[in-house]
C-alpha cells in the first residue's frame, strides 16, 4: 500500500476570513463583527478555526464546546446564515473563503457565540422525557420491558436528539412566538409517545395540546433540514398531531 503523507491527507492550506460576532449584553448595545485570517485545510472544522482564533489572536471570544464530534450538542451557532454545529461543519463544505459565525437565533445571548439553553431544557422537561409506567424494571421479580425491533424502529430516530437547539433556531414560529414549545420538545414528545413501553401518551398529548403547543407548528420543515443527527422533528410533530386529530392511535 502506498504511503500517504499527512500533507497529502489534509490537502493545501488556505487562508480564510473568519468573521466572529461579538456581543456582551452587559456592555454592548448591538452586535459587532471581528475579522480574523485563519489557516484552513480540507478537514478543518469551523470550531477548530474558532479555537485557532482563541489560541493565537483573541482569547476572549466566548464559545461553548465540548466533545468536538457532534455528540454533546454544545457548539450550535449560525454559520454563514444557517444553524449548524461548528464541530460538524467543515470550512471546505461552505464553499466560501469568508465564514461568518453568529450566536443561534431565538436563544438569549450570554456572550459572543454562547447562548442560554434554560428555555430549551425547560420545555424539554415539560413534555416528561422519561418512560411513564406504574411498574418498574427495578423490582426484583419484574422482567425487563421487552420490545420488538419494529417497535424500536418507531422512535429510535427521535432518540438521537442531542439537544443542540439548531431546530429551535431555524423554526419560523420560534422566531416570532416566545411561548411556543418548539420543535425539539415536540419531537421528544413523539419519541416517548411512540415508545411501546411508555404509558404516558395521554398526559403528554394534554401538555402539547395548547395554543402555543403543537398547533403553532405550520410544517415549514426548517427544523428537519438543520438537524445534525437526522432526527427529523417535522415528521415526529406531524405524527404527534395525527394522534391528537384521531388519525393515529
Amino acid at each position: 500500500m502506498a504511503q500517504v503523507s499527512i500533507e497529502d491527507q489534509s490537502g493545501e492550506t488556505t487562508l480564510i476570513t473568519l468573521r466572529i460576532a461579538r456581543y456582551n449584553p452587559q456592555k454592548d448595545d448591538s452586535k459587532s463583527f471581528m475579522e480574523f485570517e485563519v489557516p484552513a485545510q480540507k478537514w478543518t472544522t469551523v470550531l477548530e478555526a474558532i479555537l485557532d482564533v482563541k489560541k493565537n489572536f483573541d482569547h476572549s471570544v466566548a464559545v461553548r464546546y465540548s466533545c468536538r464530534q457532534a455528540t454533546c450538542g454544545s457548539c450550535g451557532m449560525i454559520i454563514n446564515g444557517k444553524p449548524r454545529l461548528a464541530c460538524f461543519t467543515k470550512i471546505s463544505e461552505l464553499n466560501s473563503n469568508v465564514v461568518t459565525v453568529e450566536p443561534m437565533n431565538n436563544f438569549p445571548i450570554i456572550r459572543d457565540l454562547a447562548v442560554k439553553f434554560e428555555r430549551l431544557f425547560d420545555t424539554h422537561h415539560k413534555i416528561k422525557p422519561f418512560l411513564i409506567r406504574d411498574d418498574t424494571e427495578l423490582e426484583t421479580d419484574a422482567k425487563e420491558f421487552l420490545q420488538s425491533p419494529e417497535e424500536l424502529e418507531q422512535y429510535i430516530q427521535f432518540a438521537n436528539c442531542i439537544k443542540c437547539g439548531l431546530c429551535n433556531s431555524a423554526c419560523p414560529t420560534m422566531a416570532m412566538d416566545s411561548s411556543f414549545v418548539g420543535p425539539q420538545a415536540l419531537a421528544q414528545a413523539y419519541r416517548y409517545v411512540a415508545d411501546s413501553r411508555d404509558k404516558g401518551k395521554n398526559s403528554r398529548l394534554k401538555i402539547i395540546d395548547d395554543s402555543h403547543g403543537i398547533w403553532r407548528c405550520h410544517f415549514a420543515g426548517s427544523c428537519s433540514q438543520v438537524c445534525p443527527k437526522g432526527v427529523d422533528p417535522a415528521m415526529g410533530i406531524q405524527f404527534l398531531r395525527g394522534y391528537l386529530l384521531g388519525f393515529r392511535s
Binding site: 450566536p103 422566531a175 410544517f219 405524527f239
Partner: protein, 143 residues
C-alpha cells in the same frame, strides 16, 4: 422582541432564502392567507354598496373593470389557488400523510419528511396558481 430573547422576528421568519422550497411555501402560504383575508374584507365592503341602489352598485363595480382592477383580481385568483392546493398538501402532512416513516437515520441524514411528494405538491401549487392567474388575465383582458 427584546434583544435579550435574541428572536429573529418577522425578518427571520419571512426570509425565504435559507431553507429551501418548503420555507418558500410557508411564506407564500402566509402572504396568500393575509391577501385573501384582505380581499374578503374588501369584498364585503364592495357588496355592501348594493345598499346605495343600482346606480351606486354599478358605479363601484366600474372600479374592477380597470386595468388595475383586473391585475388585482388576477393576483386574488393566484392567491386563492395557491392557498387551496398548498393547504391540502399541508393538511395531509399534518395528519402524517406523505411525511415518510421513522427509520434509523443514515448520514448525510436527508429528512424523510421533506420528500419529493411534498416538493411536487409545492411546485404544483405554484404552477397551478400561475396558470390560473394567466387564464384569469386572458379572460379579463381578452374581452
Amino acid at each position: 422582541m427584546t434583544q435579550d430573547e435574541h428572536k429573529e422576528g418577522i425578518k427571520g421568519m419571512a426570509n425565504p432564502r435559507r431553507y429551501g422550497i418548503e420555507r418558500v411555501a410557508y411564506i407564500l402560504m402566509r402572504l396568500s392567507g393575509l391577501g385573501l383575508l384582505g380581499y374578503f374584507v374588501a369584498h364585503i365592503y364592495e357588496t355592501s354598496n348594493i345598499l346605495k341602489g343600482r346606480m351606486g352598485w354599478d358605479e363601484f363595480l366600474q372600479l374592477t373593470q380597470t386595468t388595475e382592477g383586473h391585475i388585482f383580481m388576477a393576483i386574488v385568483i393566484a392567491m386563492c389557488v395557491f392557498h387551496t392546493v398548498n393547504g391540502i398538501r399541508v393538511m395531509m402532512g399534518h395528519v402524517g400523510v406523505g411525511v415518510g416513516q421513522p427509520a434509523r437515520p443514515d448520514y448525510p441524514y436527508t429528512p424523510a419528511s421533506q420528500n419529493y411528494r411534498h416538493k411536487i405538491g409545492i411546485y404544483s401549487a405554484i404552477i397551478l396558481s400561475a396558470v390560473a392567474m394567466m387564464y384569469g388575465l386572458a379572460v379579463m383582458f381578452g374581452e
